[in-house]
C-alpha cells in the first residue's frame, strides 16, 4: 500500500538515509529497529512529508506521489505521531484531538458538543481516562501521547507512523496502546513504529525492518528473528552483558534530605545519598520522582524540609545555587529544559560550565572547542562536527550531549532523570558504563528510571515513591521487578 | 544574585498609578466647580510638540486669561485626528459654550467639526481648515505663504534657475497649499525650474538626509531650496553648510520659529515667512467669545504672512 522506492536523504554533507526500499502492508504492524541515528525517524519523517527526499520516490496506492508538507500526507491518509510531542498547550484535550478537523455548524462555528463527544469517543477507544476539557499543559508526557494517538485516529488515517510511542508510557498505558494497535490492525490500518524495547517488538510486530547507519540491513517476519539475532543485526556486533558490574559505594553521606514537602506532588521525603552510591528513585508516572529531583536541583524548590550537602544545611533556590554546590542534573524534558536548539553542539555542551573556559568575561575558544571535542569522543556523540546545530542530532545523541554538558562541571552529586529514555540499546550500554564509572570515581548518583530492569541492575539502593510518599527503601540486590511494582502501585 | 529588589519595581508602579489618580481627581474637581455665567471654551491643539503650534496654543491660553469670566480648557491631540475627535466629544459632554479647534488634518478632523455642529456648540477653526466649515476661521492662507516664499526666491535668482522643494507630510493642508502657492510662482517665471521635490515629513533630520542626497544627485543644478517649514529649512541649511556650498544656495522656510529667526539674524538662513502665531491665537479667542455671546462678526479672518529677511529680522526676534 505504502512503498518507499530508493529513498535517500542528506543533511548537508552527511547522508542519513542511503537509498532504502521497503513496503508497508495494510493490517500489518511493521517495526523499524535500529540504534539511534540509524535513520528510523528520518525515514518516517520523509514518509510523513516532513522532509523531502533527495532521491527516490514514495509510492502510495500504486501511484508515485510527493508530499510537500505533513498536511499533504495527512490528507492522503498518512499520520505521524512524533517522538517529541507537539501539542498546543493552552487548548483543551478535545480541541487538540480535533485540531484542524473541528466539527462545525452552518456558519463555520465550532460545535463544542460534537467536538467533546468525538474526543470522548476516541479516548474511550484508547481506554484512556482523560477529561476532555483539561488543558494540555496540565497533562503528563504519557497523557499527552495518548492525546496525540487519539488525534491521528480521529483522522481515519490508513497508515499511522509512530516514533517511539511507548517510551514515556506506563505498563498499563502500553497495554492499552497495544490493544488499540491490534484493533487498528484488524481494521486494515498499516502501523509502522519504532521502539527500543525488545519485548514489545516480539509481542506486537508482524514484520521487522532493521536499519543501521542509514542503510536497510534486512526486512524479515518477526517470527524468524530472535532477540539476540535482532540485537546483533542492529548493533552489527555481538553484545556482551550491557550492565557493567557495580562498584562498592562509600559510607560517607553526601546528600541528606529530610521531610521534603511540596503538596500535592510529594511530602515528607527522606533519603540519604552516599559517596560512590547509585540511588534509584522508582515509581509510576506521577509518583513525584521528577518533582523531587527538581527540588534538589532548584528548578522548583520544596516548600519545607531540610537538605544538607556534605553535612551542611543548604537552601537550593535555583539551578545556579545547585551547580555551585556541586549538583548536576540531566533532565527528562530534553526539549523544554535541556537543549538550546539553535546553538551548536559545542555551545550546548559548554553552556553550564562556560566559566571554566573563560578568562574573566572572555570565552577562550580554543579550550572550549577542545573540551567539546573531547566530550564528543568520550560519549561517542555522532555529529558531523562540534559546530553542527544540536537540533539536527538524533534523540540519543542529544541526550548524550546533555549528559556531557552536566559532567563538564564535574559535579559531586548527579541527578539523572530518565537518562536512557528513547535511546537504543547500544547507546544505553554506553550510558550504563558511564554511570558505573562515575560511581566508581566516588560521585553520588540519583537515578530516576521507569525501566525496572535498569533500576535493578544499576542501583545499589532503591527508594520507591508512591503517590508522593516514600513507600519503601530497598536493597537492589535483594529486590525483583514484581515486588517493586507492588510497592509502586497506588493503594 | 538579584540586581534590583522587587520593592523598587513595586514602588515605581504605585508611584505612577498614584500620580495618574491624582491627575484624574484634580481634573474632575475643576470641571465640577463651574461658576454661573462663566464662559467655558474648549481648545484642542493639534500638537504641542510642534514649535509653531506650541506658540499658537500658548497665545490662546495667555490671551484667554486676560478675559474676565472666561475659562479655557486646553487639550493636546498629538497629531492624532482620532484622539482629537474624542476630545471634541468630551467638550460637548462637558457642555462647553464654544470650541476652538486647531485641526490635525483636512479630512480626518472633519467629523469633529460635524459633531460640534450637531450639538449646537459653535466651533472656531484656527490655523487649518477642515472639509466642513466651522462657525469661524482664523488663520493665514497657506497658499500665500508658499507664494511669498517662492517670490522671494524668484527675486533672488532673477527669475531664472533651479529650485528644490521639500514638502511637509504629504496630504496635509499646509503642504498642499504651500505647494500650490509655490506652483503659482513657477507658472509666472518660465525660467524657474523645479529640479526635484520630495517629502521630509516636517522633520529636520529627514530634511538633512534628503538634502545630502540631493547634493549628490543635483549638485550645481540648483540655486535655491524652498522648505515647507523652518524645521526642514534648518535641516537643509545644516546639510549645505556641512558640504561647504551654502553660499551657492538660497534657503527659505516658513513659520519663523525662534531658531530660524536666529539663523536669519546670523546670516545663515536667507529668509523665512512669518506666520503670526500670537495673532492667530488671539484672533481665535476673540472669535470664540463673539460666538459665545452671539455677537456678529466676520466668518473668516486672515492674519497676513510677512517675509522675514536679515533686513527686518529685528522686529521678530524675541525680546531678551
Amino acid at each position: 500500500m505504502l512503498r518507499a522506492l530508493e529513498l535517500r536523504k542528506d543533511f548537508g554533507e552527511l547522508t542519513v538515509l542511503h537509498p532504502i526500499s521497503v513496503d508497508f502492508c495494510p493490517g500489518e504492524v511493521h517495526a523499524l529497529m535500529g540504534e539511534n541515528g540509524a535513520g528510523k525517524s528520518t525515514l518516517m519523517k520523509v514518509l510523513a512529508g516532513l522532509y523531502q527526499p533527495d532521491y527516490g520516490h514514495i509510492q502510495w496506492r500504486g501511484e508515485i506521489v510527493s508530499f510537500d508538507s505533513p498536511h499533504d500526507a495527512l490528507t492522503a491518509g498518512i499520520a505521524m505521531i512524533h517522538q517529541e510531542l507537539m501539542p498546543i498547550p493552552d487548548l483543551t484535550v478535545a480541541e487538540n484531538i480535533t485540531l484542524g478537523i473541528e466539527p462545525t455548524g452552518p456558519l463555520g462555528i465550532i460545535n463544542r458538543q460534537t467536538q467533546r463527544e468525538r474526543a470522548i469517543e476516541l479516548l474511550r477507544e484508547l481506554e484512556a481516562d482523560l477529561e476532555p476539557d483539561r488543558l494540555m499543559r496540565t497533562l503528563t508526557v504519557a497523557q499527552t501521547q495518548v492525546v496525540e494517538i487519539a488525534k491521528a485516529l480521529g483522522r481515519h488515517a490508513d497508515v499511522i507512523l509512530m516514533d517511539e510511542p511507548t517510551a514515556a508510557l506506563s505498563d498499563h498505558e502500553i497495554a492499552a496502546l497495544f490493544r488499540t494497535i491490534n484493533r487498528l490492525k484488524s481494521r486494515g490500518v498499516a502501523v509502522v513504529y519504532t521502539t527500543h524495547k525488545m519485548d514489545e517488538v516480539f509481542r506486537l510486530a508482524d514484520r521487522i525492518s532493521i536499519l543501521r547507519d542509514g542503510r536497510l540491513i534486512t526486512t524479515a517476519p518477526a517470527h524468524e528473528l530472535s532477540p539476540q539475532k535482532l540485537i546483533s543485526l542492529m548493533v552489527g556486533r555481538e553484545l556482551a552483558d550491557i550492565f557493567p558490574p557495580r562498584s562498592v559505594p562509600g559510607r560517607e553521606p553526601v546528600l541528606e534530605v529530610s521531610g521534603l514537602t511540596r503538596e500535592p506532588a510529594y511530602r515528607d521525603i527522606n533519603l540519604t545519598l552516599h559517596r560512590g552510591e547509585i540511588l534509584a528513585l522508582a515509581g509510576l508516572m506521577g509518583a513525584g520522582r521528577t518533582e523531587v529531583a527538581s527540588a534538589l536541583y532548584g528548578l522548583q524548590p520544596a516548600i519545607s524540609g531540610l537538605i544538607s550537602v556534605h553535612g551542611k544545611n543548604v537552601v537550593i533556590d535555583s539551578p545556579t545555587t545547585a551547580i555551585a554546590l556541586g549538583i548536576g542534573m540531566v533532565t527528562e524534558d530534553r526539549k523544554g529544559l535541556g537543549l538550546i536548539p539553535a546553538l551548536s553542539v559545542r555551545e550546548n555542551i559548554s553552556l553550564a560550565a562556560l566559566n571554566r573556559f573563560a578568562r574573566g568575561p572572555l570565552v577562550r575558544h580554543t579550550e572550549e572547542a577542545n573540551a567539546a571535542r573531547h566530550q564528543l569522543q568520550a560519549f561517542a556523540i555522532k555529529a558531523s562536527s562540534p559546530e553542527q546545530p544540536i537540533h539536527q542530532l538524533s534523540g540519543g545523541n542529544q541526550q548524550k550531549a546533555l549528559l556531557a554538558r552536566c559532567l563538564l562541571n564535574e559535579p559531586e552529586i548527579i541527578i539523572l532523570d530518565e537518562p536512557t529514555r528513547g535511546i537504543d540499546i547500544g547507546a544505553k550500554a554506553e550510558i550504563y558504563a558511564v554511570i558505573q564509572k562515575l560511581a566508581a570515581q566516588g560521585k553520588a548518583i540519583l537515578l530516576i528510571s521507569s525501566e525496572l530492569p535498569e533500576v535493578l541492575a544499576l542501583a545499589h539502593r532503591i527508594v520507591v515513591l508512591r503517590q508522593g510518599n516514600v513507600a519503601a527503601t530497598l536493597d537492589a540486590s535483594r529486590s525483583d521487578q514484581e515486588s517493586l511494582l507492588n510497592l509502586a502501585m497506588p493503594l | 544574585m538579584r540586581l534590583t529588589p522587587r520593592p523598587v519595581a513595586g514602588f515605581f508602579f504605585i508611584a505612577c498609578s498614584l500620580a495618574g489618580v491624582l491627575a484624574l481627581f484634580t481634573g474632575c474637581k475643576k470641571a465640577s466647580t463651574r461658576k454661573e455665567g462663566e464662559i467655558l471654551i474648549g481648545f484642542s491643539s493639534r500638537d504641542l510638540s510642534a514649535e509653531y503650534t506650541a506658540k499658537l496654543s500658548e497665545a490662546v491660553v495667555d490671551y484667554a486669561k486676560t478675559k474676565p469670566g472666561v475659562r479655557l480648557v486646553m487639550v493636546d491631540a498629538q497629531s492624532d485626528a482620532q484622539k482629537q475627535l474624542s476630545q471634541i466629544e468630551n467638550f460637548i459632554s462637558q457642555k462647553a459654550d464654544v470650541i476652538i479647534l486647531n485641526p490635525c488634518e483636512l479630512e480626518a478632523s472633519t467629523p469633529a467639526v460635524d459633531r460640534a455642529k450637531a450639538a449646537d456648540i459653535p466651533i472656531v477653526l484656527v490655523n487649518q481648515v477642515t472639509k466642513s466649515a466651522g462657525d469661524a476661521y482664523i488663520g493665514s492662507n497657506d497658499v500665500d505663504a508658499g507664494h511669498i516664499a517662492m517670490e522671494a526666491i524668484a527675486k533672488q535668482l532673477g527669475g531664472k534657475g533651479g529650485v528644490l522643494m521639500i514638502h511637509g507630510i504629504m496630504g496635509t493642508s499646509a503642504q498642499l497649499q504651500r505647494e500650490a502657492g509655490a506652483r503659482e510662482v513657477f507658472a509666472k517665471y518660465p525660467g524657474l525650474k523645479l529640479v526635484d521635490h520630495q517629502t521630509a515629513a516636517w522633520d529636520r533630520a529627514k530634511a538633512m538626509s534628503l538634502t545630502e542626497n540631493w547634493i549628490q544627485a543635483h549638485r550645481g543644478k540648483f540655486q535655491a531650496i524652498f522648505a515647507h517649514n523652518d524645521e526642514m529649512a534648518m535641516g537643509a541649511l545644516l546639510a549645505l553648510e556641512r558640504a561647504g556650498i551654502k553660499k551657492e544656495v538660497y534657503v527659505i522656510g516658513i513659520d519663523a520659529i525662534a531658531q530660524a529667526l536666529t539663523a536669519v539674524n546670523e546670516g545663515r538662513l536667507d529668509a523665512t515667512v512669518f506666520q503670526d502665531a500670537v495673532g492667530q491665537g488671539q484672533g481665535a479667542v476673540d472669535a470664540a467669545l463673539r460666538l459665545a455671546r452671539k455677537q456678529p462678526g466676520a466668518k473668516e479672518n486672515y492674519i497676513p504672512f510677512r517675509l522675514v529677511t536679515r533686513d527686518n529680522v529685528g522686529e521678530f526676534l524675541p525680546k531678551k
Binding site: 535555583s318 539553535a342 566559566n355 570565552v363 | 540586581l3 514649535e51 522633520d203 549628490q216 534648518m234 536666529t262
Partner: protein, 311 residues
Amino acid sequence: MPTLDRNLLHRFGILIVILLIGLGLSLTTDTFLSLSNLTNVARQVSINGILAIGVTFVLLTAGVDLSLGAVVALSGVTCATFAHPGEHNVMIPIFIGLATGAACGITNGVLVTKGGVAPFIVTLGMMTVARGLALIASGGRPVADMSPSLTNLAGDVLGIPIPLLCFAGVALIAWIFLSNFRLGRYIYAVGGNENAARAAGISVTKVKLFAYTTCGLLTGLAGVVLAARTTTGQPNAGIAYELDAIAAVVIGGTSLAGGIGTVTGTILGVVLIGEINNGLDLLSVSSYYQAVIKGVIIVGAVWLDRRQSRS
C-alpha cells in the same frame, strides 16, 4: 574562524540584494558610486545602525523594544539641555544623554524581568512615557543653542564621518561581545530556550537586564549623535525609528523568536535600508512611490534570504 564563515554564507542572500541594487543604482545614476555619496550613505545609516545594534541584543533574548524612537528624542533633549556653549565640558552632555538612555533601558529591563510584564507592553509604555518626558523637559520646543564642540561631533575626521565611526565602534564591540563573552553566549541561550538556560545555571534575569540596558545605552548614544547632527535636541525627533531599526535587524536574519542572529547580519540590514533611502532620492522617485517601493524591497529581501538559507 568557522562561525564567521557560516554567517557570511548565511547572509549571502542579503549581500546579493545589496550588490544588485548597488549595481542598478550605479548604472542608472552617475553619482551613486562616488566616494562622496557613499560617505553620505554611511553618515545617514549611522543612527539607524547604532539603534539596530542595540535592539539586536534585545531581540536575541526574544524580547522587543518599541521605545527606541522616543528614547532617542529624550536623550537628545537632555543632552542638548546641558550643551549650551561655555557651560560644561563637552563630556557632560554626552554622559547625560547616554545615562538617560541607559536609565530608560534599565527601567524596561526591570519591569520585564522582575515585573513579569510582556516586553511589548513595557516598551510601549516607555515609548509614550519617554516622549512625554522629552516634551516636559524641553517645554515642547527644540532645545537649540548647542555648543559647537558637541555639534562638531557630527562632522568628519580624516574624511570619515564621526557618526560612522561611532556605528563602526559599536558594531565591533557588539560583535566581539556576542561571539567572545560569556554573557554574549548566555544571551543566545536565553533567547533560544529560556527554561533550559535557567536549568543550566544561567541567571536569566541578569542576562535580560543587561540586554535592555545595553539597548537603552546605545539608544542614548543615537540620541546624542542625532542632536549633534541636527544641532538641536528635538522632543518630536525619532518618530518610528524603532521600526526601521527592527526591520534592519530582521532583514539581517535575526529571529523575532530570539536565539538566532548576528551583528554582521544587522549591519547588512542597516546598509540595505540606507541604500534604498539614498537610491530613491537620487532617482527622484516621487514621495508616494518611495514608501511603496521601500516596503516591497524590505519584504522581498527577507523572502529571498529565507529561501536562500533554506536550500
